[in-house]
Each structure stands twice: as C-alpha cells, then as structure tokens.
Symmetry: C2
Subunit: 202 residues, 2 copies
DNA sequence: ACCTGAACACCGTTCAAGT
DNA sequence: ACCTGAACACCGTTCAAGT
C-alpha cells in the first residue's frame, strides 16, 4: 500500500526485537509469532521478512541480546576472593537472572541452530565472553594450567551447572531430589573444584 | 462416516504411538503432527483425540517409551567393578543411545510439562528407575551415606552430565572447547567423584 | 458407540501489486 | 524503494452429524 519512511531499516530492527522481547516475556516462546510482532509494531507480517531472514534469525538476534544482558547482570570475579566465593557469586547471579527472565532464558536454550551451518561469529563472541568469566574464576586456582585445559574445565563446569538448572526448570529433578537447584549446583561445583587438583595434574 | 471395530482402543493407542515414533525418528519433533499421525495409521485427525487428550499427552507417552528403551539399553552396574568403570559404562551407554535415537532423545527433553500440574506417577517411576542405576554405582563408593544425600549426588551428577551432552547437541560448546562430549563428561565425573569424599563428610 | 471430516482460529513465508 | 496483504500450505483441536 505505502512506502513509509517513518522508520529506518535499523529502527525497524530495533522495534521488532523489542516487540519480540515483550511478547516472549509475557507469553513464552509460543507467543512469539511473526504476525503478532508485526501487529505490535503496526506493520504487516511481510515487513518482518524485509529485515530478518525468518523467525529463526529473529530469535537468534533476540538471544544475542539476552546473552548481553546476562553478561551485564553477572558479578565480576574478584581476584581477592576465593574461587568458591567467586563461583558462588556467578551462580547466584545466574540463578537470579533465570528467575527474572525465565521465558527469555528458555528460548535462549530451546533454540537449536537450524541446519548444519555454523552460528554467526557475533553470537559465539558473546558466549565466549560469558565463559571468560568462569575462566577468570578458575585461573588463579590453577595458574600453570594450559589454556585448552582451562577452557575444558570451564566448559564442563558451566555445562554441568546449566544441566542442573535446566532440568530443575522442566521439573525433571523433582522426582529424584527435593534439594533446591542452588544447593545441587553448589554440591557439583564444590566437589568438582575440590577433586580437580587430583584429576588434572598440571 | 463409520464405526470401525478393526482396532480396539488399546490397539489404536499402540498404532498411534508407533506412528508417532516413526515420524519423530524420521523428521524430528516438527514432523510430529496430529494430522500426520492420523494419516499414517489411516484414521482421521479426530481419532487421535479419542485416545489422547492432546498432542502433549501423546508426546508424554512417547517419552515414557523412550525412557523405557533407554533403561534397557544401559548396562547394569557391576559391584565387582570400580565406581569409575561402572560410571563410564553408563556414560558410554547413554551417549550411544543418544546417537542412535537423537530425535527421540531431543523430544524427551524439549518437552516441558504444560501447566503447573505434576507429571504422572508412571512417568516419574521410569525416571526414578534410571536414576537408580546411578545410585547403585555410587552407593558402594560411600556406604554410610544417607539416602537423601545419595539421591542428591546422583541427581547433581546426572544433571551435570546431561547438561554437557545437551549443550554439545545444540552446538553451544563448540565455541568454547573442541573436546568431545565424552571427554568433558569424564572430566566432570572424575573430578566430581574424586572431590566428593572431601566435600560430603558422611 | 465409534469415527468422521468440516470448521475455527490460528501458524510461517512469499511475492505480485500498489505507492 | 519500500511496504502491503492476499495467498499458499500448513497447524491443533472440536463437535455435529453420520453409521
């Protein structure tokens, strides 16, 4: 019908992502549809596809923002504190974020990269930045460690914690334990870190 | 159109679940639709809803079967073997199952219980039976442990391993480590078990 | 009693046609 | 050049009407 110069390409992208964010926060991932986004910003469905390749692409950008916000929400590791203290800070920060942004957090991990293609670099960078926080907690604990080993340790620990929180979120741990997710995470982290020195002989 | 006594209520349930299983194996969760299931078994869409409450209910039953099959696929812990050996057996069995049944495994964990209602007892029993395998591996390692603590340890360890495998599956660990999931799991399990004795003073 | 299949209220995505 | 909105090919779910 019309050519509208009300909003630039970039502005439209912003508006779409904001609308998507609101819709997910309010109604979970099933509330995020191209039609609803279009409706929210007062454009037609087709407009979404002028800016994003498809819904998957849109979700990937949204998840990028969530990663960014998570990074800003987590406390910075303090070299003067103990490893356990620092890790506990990250843990509590992460759980707090999950609680406050449950639906955004869910869509962050529910989303599976569509095909065999790699995730874009800007996305991997954001993930890497987050893992860097864990590196910085563990590094002083094992100063002579190889960079590769450090990354494996961070990855294993982070993935382990994530597993507990994500299974707790889908209520698949209720059968098996009444313990709070935070306590299970602490059990995992403490034992893992305590056992690390015996296992990795650096 | 017709009353068909070709198949009993139970037979229809079987046929539907088999068809659902095939569809998921072949095309992932997005290939599982009521219409396709109906088509596969030669009935109308409405028939599905005579047997199951809705698609969620159908998926829950399908997941029950997957849990059953996973239990049968895993090796039984051997009291004569070491904890590490036994756990490695479970680990390799689990990874093998995931590889051979990727789409069924994905739908098992993607599925989030719809409302606030509890999971049915028959489902929780199947999960519990699986966790029991881990209990039996750890128990001889710490014979004087409380039942509750044992369950927490099993849960934390299982969830941790699950986290690694599930993040690896969605390629969210590639950025951070080139290590194979099995190796990351071993790192987690070994350090955790090694550190356990220092952490839990039973 | 059992099963149908049309109907309702939705989807993602495309693309010829308008301004 | 930009945006539309109708169109296509799908969804889950229901329920009056058939046998």
């Amino acid at each position: 019908m019309a050519r509208r110069v009300d909003h630039s390409h970039e502005e439209l992208g912003e508006m779409i992502l904001s609308a998507a964010c609101e819709l997910v926060e309010a109604g979970g991932s099933s509330a995020l549809t191209a039609r609803k986004v279009a409706n929210t910003i007062g454009y037609s469905p087709g407009t979404i596809y002028n800016i994003f390749n498809n819904l998957d692409d849109l979700i990937l950008r949204l998840n990028g923002r969530t990663l960014e916000r998570l990074y800003l929400h987590l406390p910075r590791p303090d070299p003067d504190k103990s490893v356990e203290n620092n890790f506990d800070g990250l843990l509590r920060g992460y759980l707090e974020f999950v609680e406050q942004n449950r639906n955004l957090w869910r869509i962050l991990f529910d989303h599976r990269p569509s095909t065999e293609e790699e995730l874009p670099e800007w996305y991997n960078d954001k993930v890497s930045k987050l893992l860097g926080l864990i590196d910085r907690v563990i590094e002083p604990h094992a100063p002579d460690i190889h960079q590769n080993e450090l990354r494996e340790i961070s990855a294993a620990l982070w993935a382990g914690v994530h597993g507990i929180i994500s299974l707790a979120d889908s209520r698949k741990l209720e059968v098996v334990s009444t313990a709070a997710p935070l306590d299970l995470c602490r059990l995992l982290v403490r034992s893992f870190l305590s056992g690390l020195t015996n296992t990795v002989k650096s």
